[in-house]
Amino acid sequence: MKVVKGLYYSNDHEWVKVDGDEAYVGIADFAQEHLGDIVYVELPEVDDEFAKEEAFSVVESVKAASDIYLPVSGKVIAVNEALEDEPALLNADPYENWIIKIVLNDKAELDELMTSEDYEKFLAEEE
């Protein structure tokens, strides 16, 4: 299972890549693998605001519709529109293909997430 260094991870297998006061958010390799072939991604609108752990997107495989939760609170400043036409990009490379970019409300919230090292341990324990 691929884990990219330098990102923050949630228990629900989302990742956060910090860029100053902003951050990209996506799903981890574990999530795309367990969802299977992704056939639809529902994106939020730019300027939507989400609380920590609120659902901001829905990723659907043939079988399942899964809510994706925002690990930290923030306001959407960009959405990855390429996913609307090609949802399978999330299977191809879940780290390259972010879902949204946000402005972080409170950078201190990042401390509650796992580092890549913690996340690797988390995956190992779960398996």
């Binding site: 629900d12 367990h34 779960e126």
Partner: protein, 385 residues
């Protein structure tokens, strides 16, 4: 019923900690694990949702072949002088019309016309019928059948635990199975069966039936024999591109082929007439049957709601349970919905107020509380080849 609206961590528990003692293992459980199947608790059985992936498995069945473990299905035998008359009394279809070694699809109804189950009746002989029922309904069906035995001279037995079953489906199904038996499979016509066929040395009962819309066979053997059959078929099918196939594509395949799933298109609340399965309800058959009066009444008064097919025009995926509206008024709900792997479109079935079931009618499916445009199309999604 399949429920897959989980969060990732729940999926994971289902896969890795699937040690709930209540679920039963089919004789093929060990094979699913060996093949890397994503095993979940389905209707009280540990079964794989998929092995390599739902879409490749779906495509293998449509274009080559797939094999499913369907050992969880229930088998109930009815033997005795009154076997045909008794089963005919329980069923909506005309059981007197089939001959030895023939099979009929039928519904079994409550007095109010709601459905107890849908099933296949295999006629071995006129005094020996073999019913194949849905796994989740086996206990209920068996109790229902026993309860209505009355004065019929029959012996009823639930033999589910001693029967293993696999379904070999797809255009190459016959070529693959023929490699393993001397019996000329051309002699088994659609919805017919043959007993005591040797499949790679295992004594089997074979029927040309299935739940995918493709040609294929369902193969029954004892619990030990079925493991050998499974492995022999996979080996024989290699050159044809066979894949082991899970519950995930079993549902998408049956859905595309307009085959109902109990609890969705038909149920205790949805009569077979509402579901659009009148062909299997012989209101004019000679004998009385349970539900006849209520179904006759429903039919003569006209259906208030009906099952319709639809295609989503707007973006999104319609899922089971979602509301359907017309001009802001609720007119029904989705019974099954998918991004169809074969048609690459979002399609579904919905139970709608009858006045909105005309082909071409524009409707709206409420996808997560937002209306998405859709239109009524024929339920026969899959064009016959």
């Amino acid at each position: 019923m399949l429920t897959f609206k989980y969060r990732f961590n729940i999926v994971y528990i289902k896969i890795k900690r699937s040690d709930k003692v209540t679920a039963k293992k089919t004789p093929l459980y060990g094979e699913h694990v060996k093949l890397g199947g994503n095993v979940v608790d389905y209707a009280g059985w540990f079964l794989p949702v998929q092995y390599t992936g739902l879409i490749p498995e779906h495509e293998a069945v449509r274009n080559a072949a797939g094999i499913f473990d369907v050992s969880h299905m229930g088998e109930i035998t009815v033997k005795g002088k009154d076997a045909v008359a008794f089963v005919d009394y329980l069923m909506t279809n005309d059981i007197t019309k089939i001959v030895d070694n023939q099979i009929i699809y039928t519904l079994m109804c409550y007095p109010d016309g709601g459905v107890v189950d849908d099933l296949l009746v295999y006629r071995y002989e006129n005094n020996y019928l073999y019913l194949v029922v849905n796994a989740s309904n086996t206990g209920k069906d068996y109790a229902w059948i026993l309860e209505h035995k009355g004065d019929f001279d029959v012996e009823i037995e639930n033999i589910s635990d001693s029967v293993g079953e696999v379904a070999l489906q797809g255009p190459f199904a016959q070529k693959i199975l023929q490699k393993l038996t001397d019996f000329d499979l051309d002699k088994i016509e659609f919805f017919h069966l043959q007993r005591d066929i040797s499949v790679d040395g295992v004594n089997c009962m074979i029927s040309r039936t299935g739940y995918t819309g493709e040609d294929g066979f369902e193969i029954y053997a004892d619990n030990e024999g079925i493991v050998k059959v499974w492995n022999s078929v996979l080996e024989a099918g290699k050159e044809f591109g066979i894949l082991p196939a899970g519950l995930g594509c079993r549902d998408t395949l049956r859905f595309e082929a307009s085959l109902p799933l109990y609890g969705h298109e038909i149920s205790q609340e949805i009569t077979p007439l509402e579901g659009g399965f009148k062909y299997f309800v012989k209101l004019d058959k000679a004998a009385d049957f349970i539900g006849k009066e209520a179904l006759n009444k429903q039919w003569s008064e006209g259906l208030k709601r009906k099952l319709a097919g639809f295609e989503l025009i707007g973006r999104g995926i319609a899922r089971e349970g979602m509301e359907v509206q017309k001009d802001g008024v609720i007119i029904g709900h989705v019974t099954t919905g998918y991004m169809s792997p074969t048609l690459k479109k979002t399609i579904g079935n919905a139970l709608l107020a009858s006045e909105f079931t005309e082909l071409g009618t524009e409707i709206e499916v409420m996808v997560r509380n937002k209306p998405v445009k859709a239109k009524v199309i024929s339920k026969k999604f899959l064009k016959k080849k």
